[in-house]
Symmetry: C2
Subunit: 323 residues, 2 copies
Amino acid sequence: MATIKDVAKHAGVSVASVSRYMNKNGYVKKETGEKIEQAIRDLNYVPNEVARSLFQKKSKLVGVLLPDITNPYFPLLAKGIEEELNRQGFMMLLANTSDSEENLQNYLTTFIQNNVSGVITTLPVSHVPKNIKMIGVDRAYEGDFIKILADDYQGGKLIGQEILQTTYRNVLIVTSNLLMPSVNLRYQGLVDVLDKHAITHTTLQSQSFNVDRTDETVASIFKNYSAYDTIVASNDYLALKIMQYAHEHGMNIPDDIQVVGYDGIPYAEMFYPSLATVKQPIYQIGQEAAKRMSKLLNNNKDELPKTTILPVTFQKGKSLRYF
Amino acid sequence: MATIKDVAKHAGVSVASVSRYMNKNGYVKKETGEKIEQAIRDLNYVPNEVARSLFQKKSKLVGVLLPDITNPYFPLLAKGIEEELNRQGFMMLLANTSDSEENLQNYLTTFIQNNVSGVITTLPVSHVPKNIKMIGVDRAYEGDFIKILADDYQGGKLIGQEILQTTYRNVLIVTSNLLMPSVNLRYQGLVDVLDKHAITHTTLQSQSFNVDRTDETVASIFKNYSAYDTIVASNDYLALKIMQYAHEHGMNIPDDIQVVGYDGIPYAEMFYPSLATVKQPIYQIGQEAAKRMSKLLNNNKDELPKTTILPVTFQKGKSLRYF
DNA sequence: TTGTACGCGTTATCAC
DNA sequence: GTGATAACGCGTACAA
């Protein structure tokens, strides 16, 4: 690997001139520039980001914290982040915490050790050094940083309004941790609509979003809540698992049980019957988060609001019994 | 952020001693060690990986090249890689090339600029500096480096043998680029079985694995190949899309059309009807690749064979018409 | 307009 | 056992 010194020697100038030329700051005579240009090509020189990062105390690296990459919601988010980051000249360091707080902390220090300039997180994090720019997404409701969120309360409402148009009898709401604001808002939106129309409902709070534990949740639903004919799942993956279980046990969807999901992952509409769900602008959230991050890092003072809320829509599906 | 100098000063020793203590090489008296330990805790010092990387000309970073993170095959692979890498003290830099050769090259230089010690690639790459350790996976058949692959030829054969047990009439093989060895091997395995039993078949070579273009492929299948009742899809995502299309157009699976996929993504068995497919040990491939990488990087001379081939299995499904 | 010299935080060499 | 000190590759005062 050629270094800046090699280039300088090859071009017969000093390293300072090469550096100035490359970063387009300071003066450099035209013909000197051309000599440098030539040398760079000859040696196909690429600046060493590590040295740069060491000196500048910041890098082109942006860390991304996800709870579970196996849940199809997150790859799509990651893609949105990655493509936009890439466009802006940054690189994504991806960390998958597997829903473990310990992993999260470890990754965070690894991020710091590697001099990331920013972190986009889907999870609540505490104790972030303030030279690191943070942007929160999805579940990262807490913390004093910019957030790009979907309209969770509205999402819950949409589900409620949709259920009103179906031949519901007993409504079971399967939710994850209600202490998480995003989860809670969806729940509130839904419950507000149901209560307003005096629809009784039962709530089952399952432990975790984690894909590996979904099977337990599903089994417990069918074992302990067999009287329910309408299931509101906390996410599409769970909803699809419920539908699979129902199929395997000879139940018909939506005739015996109707199901509605949340997220709008690509598989929702591919299923048979297609899954009714709330479509979150997943890719856009990622993209928007990355855009804001690059603004932050370029010190373009960001006049935009601290919290951006993107709209959600209801995606109709054959998993509901409309009358 | 506290530096090694701060620690040294705080402990009343020299930076050299702190470094020796941290890396557990060279001598350091017990009580000196304790003073250092204390200082580290007081300042909660974490060594700066960037400086370390600059000096050592290598880092704890491993780059991973994927063609398309939206295809559920890859997140699972990435998870296998990431969890194992993490266990070994490395960090994953994830790059999603979106099937573009230009992106691939850019990412590769970014990897180099950031001093990655190794690259795990799912794609054929050329011109890799030889101080970077490479491991190939999935489509990375070419290149002189260690490879962890699934038994593609066997996978093709399994499909052929399975079709023999069904009431097939006209077999359409939808394949992607046959110039890719993995694709070609699968194709050969399948065709060898079909030919041996004198089963006629037609081949449709579609342009790309890319998820975004799948819809075009599906439309073209139903438009131009409507006479076929047995479709062998090049991957599960395509297979599921075909099933979706069939459902939406009033066809029954497997009565009107039987479909078989390839990969064994988690959604295959969740679908209704469940998708018959060849199950690749996706997570294990990632895990194995990461293990080999960490061996390589720790200079444990790797006695293992250059190419490891992991077995595949057939996963039965209701998308086939068994007689 | 250009070059010299220093510092970023770490490790390794060598002298004490 | 320990402590100076020279690298690693880059950017930038400051001097020329």
